[in-house]
């Protein structure tokens, strides 16, 4: 079935829904690289006007990637909740934008609607929304998850403490962990990207983080960001696994290139649940995503990168994750060229994930070959703070010395707390106060010297 729109004397025609979606996507280099972007600005807006007329129901009838070929499509359509969809089932994409912006869309109605939305519906409406729309609607949502603390409450923001080191040196990792804790970071997770996938190196890091959390009784969780199958092996051999991590994508073929499938994720999810290590909840999965991953794996089926990304959230949603992190600027300028493209992508991902009911965080980041700098990151950080992001990264001085890219610093989180009044998760905030890191006002008290509970480390300095 084709789509068309007449603008003045010109008819713009689009052979199918996936072409229409790609042409309607705000400009980004990855879609140009894939050869599926609009030819020019006029065609892009024509596609957006055409897409605005498409009934939401059409996304249940016309799969962008065939049902028979792709288990993510099957997951999306087989788990769609028709009853939850009812309040918006009669709307077009354009009507849906108006509905989301209206008072009909509230925290309660959006939570109830989430199971009735498909990734494609959410991606479609995001393509005709401005940045302020993406922020305003996302701010109405609240997605709360729990393991050893409570993440995602309105008015709060958490951080992943990311103590990466190029050789996984225990003292080097410990130095970054201590610095991060003293700067009040780490309530979403203390999560390290290991330098190697070597099983013994990975489990050594698992023990290191677990021992620190136990010794200082920190209400948080640890994660070593290695392949899901390595987590399974670690669980089977008794290593201390809090969260199971995996990078995921929005097509079966892209997930295949990551060496995963829904059934492998299911197995890991069940294994982590059986450990029962959470104290206040059992959200045990940590997923990372990012626009461009399906194209990078040559597994995008002609679907635009933002829609592929949103489909990854359907994969995440199945496993009730504690954290979903869109690593927005890491992939490089061939997918997101500059600060403008990275900023919009980050806000789209947060909006789409939240509408689908996911605990969205963002790795607000860039590489040195992208046309971006700290000013761009400050804009995205501030906007995501206003939008109600669940968590961001925290790294010493924004410089990841292992992965060679820049993400948000420990100080950046404090900036959001200060200008937007966003304390960390309540259990973690209480711990910070108990440890003398925070004063009574959720503000940093420590600085020149180690607070008393850390004073025994003085002769290690």
């Amino acid at each position: 079935m084709g789509y068309h729109v007449d603008i003045g004397q010109t008819r713009y025609a689009f052979p199918d829904l996936k072409t229409l979606m790609a042409k309607a996507t705000p400009l980004r280099s990855g879609d140009c690289l894939a050869g599926i972007a609009a030819e020019n600005a006029t065609e892009r807006v024509a596609a957006q006007r055409c897409l605005a007329e498409v009934p939401l129901k059409q996304f249940l009838n016309e799969a962008l990637i065939p049902y028979e070929q792709d288990e993510v499509t099957r997951l999306i359509l087989d788990t769609h909740d028709a009853a939850a969809f009812t309040p918006v089932a009669h709307l077009t994409v354009g009507d849906f934008r108006d509905w989301l912006l209206s008072d009909h869309a509230s925290h309660e109605s959006l939570s109830a609607l989430a199971p009735g939305l498909t990734p494609e519906m959410v991606a479609a409406v995001s393509k005709i929304m401005r940045i302020q729309d993406l922020i305003l609607v996302a701010q109405k949502t609240e997605v709360v998850t729990r393991f050893r603390n409570t993440i995602g409450l309105s008015g709060r923001m958490s951080t992943r403490l990311q103590p990466n080191h190029p050789t996984d040196d225990p003292a080097g990792v410990a130095a970054s962990v201590l610095d991060g804790l003293l700067y009040a970071n780490g309530d979403a997770v203390i999560g390290i990207n290991p330098a190697t996938d070597n099983y013994h190196a990975v489990t050594r890091l698992m023990h290191l983080l677990d021992e620190v959390i136990q010794r200082y009784e920190i209400p948080t969780q640890s994660c070593v960001l290695t392949h899901v199958t390595t987590h399974l092996e670690a669980i089977n051999r008794g290593a201390p696994v809090d969260l199971v991590f995996q990078s995921i994508a929005g097509t079966q073929a892209a997930n295949d290139s990551f060496g995963i499938s829904l059934s492998i994720l299911d197995e890991a999810h069940k294994a982590a649940l059986e450990l029962g290590r959470g104290t206040v909840g059992q959200n045990v999965m940590y997923f990372e995503t990012g626009q461009g991953s399906a194209l990078s794996a040559n597994a995008h089926h002609g679907v635009d990168q933002q829609t592929c990304e949103t489909r990854a959230y359907a994969v995440a949603r199945r496993f009730d994750p504690l954290l979903v992190n869109t690593v927005v600027g890491f992939i490089g300028p061939e997918y997101l060229y500059d600060g403008k493209q990275i900023i919009r992508a980050g806000l789209e991902d947060h909006f789409c994930g939240k509408l689908l009911g996911l605990p969205m965080g963002c790795d607000i980041c860039y590489t040195n070959h992208a046309e971006a700098d700290q000013d761009d990151m400050d804009m995205l950080l501030t906007q995501l703070g206003v939008a109600g992001i669940n968590f961001i990264m925290g790294i010493p001085g924004s410089d990841d010395i292992m992965l060679n890219y820049q993400t948000t610093s420990f100080h950046d989180a404090l900036y959001v707390r200060e200008v937007l009044n966003k304390p960390p998760a309540p259990e973690f905030a209480a711990w910070l106060e108990k440890m003398g890191i925070f004063g009574a006002d959720n503000r940093l008290a420590s600085g020149s010297t180690l607070p008393p509970p850390f004073a025994h480390l003085q002769d290690r300095l």
Binding site: L33, P166, D169, S176, D399, N404, L457, R460
Partner: protein, 271 residues
């Protein structure tokens, strides 16, 4: 109201644990102005970012590189990828992986005039011209000397402007070379703007993926030395010629033990 000007040494809150930087290059213990990064570390960061940006964007001085290669006794050919400029290179990885028409024609001509060689060294600017400018001629000379000592014949060194890793395979295929050794500027980090990588392919041809290549990364003063890199490469070359393959099936066993070393320093937080 503060009447007297504040002592400037009391404006910034310093961190007593900054000494822990002896354990890591991470930017820990920066201190704070209010809750923000103090001026000094803020500007140090900007300086590092500027260096990394320049590494990406300042064009490779090919004349200088040719001269240095010449001084090391190495002839070189100047080639160009299909990416006409840096902006295209950054957005179109497919173009950086292929030679432009003139370059391909030149190599065909060379190939008709000279017998096929065992090995071809290719130098591509990649994402850091700084790395190539600083280290490529020395690394190429170290590698060439060892290849010669093994009795292997070599083509002229091929310099590819706006080149990505896979372009080496096209060079090798056109020259009918048994193996290709590609030196490339790696994606620059703030603390490593000048890191060179070596990619190695047996039986190079267009269309191979990373699975067919071996990589030696982080060649720079604070990383692997040119001599060590050349030694590790030659181990790969010998094994590869013997087993007639490269890539994931040719694991660099010479580096395996290193992964688990470094246990010497403990997690002091548990003391």
């Amino acid at each position: 109201m503060e009447k007297n000007p504040v002592d400037k040494h009391q404006i910034v809150t310093s961190n007593s644990w900054a000494s822990l930087r002896r354990h890591t290059d991470a930017r820990i213990g920066l201190g704070r102005s209010g809750i923000s990064q103090p001026t000094a570390p803020q500007l140090e960061f900007q300086q590092a970012h500027a260096r990394a940006r320049d590494a990406v964007h300042i064009p490779l001085d090919v004349k200088q590189l040719k001269t240095e290669l010449m001084e090391a006794g190495l002839q070189s050919l100047l080639l160009h990828s299909q990416a006409e400029d840096r902006a295209t290179y950054l957005q179109r990885p497919d173009k950086g992986r292929r030679l432009d028409a003139d370059s391909a024609a030149l190599l065909k001509q060379v190939s008709e005039q000279q017998p096929a060689s065992d090995a071809t060294i290719v130098i591509a600017d990649g994402l850091s011209s700084t790395a190539v400018q600083r280290h490529a001629a020395r690394v190429a000379a170290e590698v060439d000397r060892r290849l010669a000592a093994e009795g292997l014949t070599r083509s002229p060194v091929c310099i590819v402007q706006q080149g990505r890793v896979a372009v080496g395979d096209e060079v090798g295929e056109l020259l009918d070379s048994r193996v290709v050794i590609l030196l490339v500027g790696e994606r620059p980090g703030l603390s490593s703007p000048d890191s060179l990588g070596i990619y190695y392919t047996y039986n190079p041809r267009v269309g191979l993926t990373d699975a067919a290549r071996n990589c030696i990364s982080n060649i720079r003063p604070a990383g692997i030395s040119p001599q060590d890199a050349a030694e590790r490469l030659l181990w790969l070359v010998r094994e590869s010629l013997r087993r007639k393959l490269s890539g994931v099936e040719l694991k660099d066993e010479s580096g395996d033990a290193e992964a688990l070393e470094g246990d010497g320093r403990r997690n002091f937080l548990l003391d």
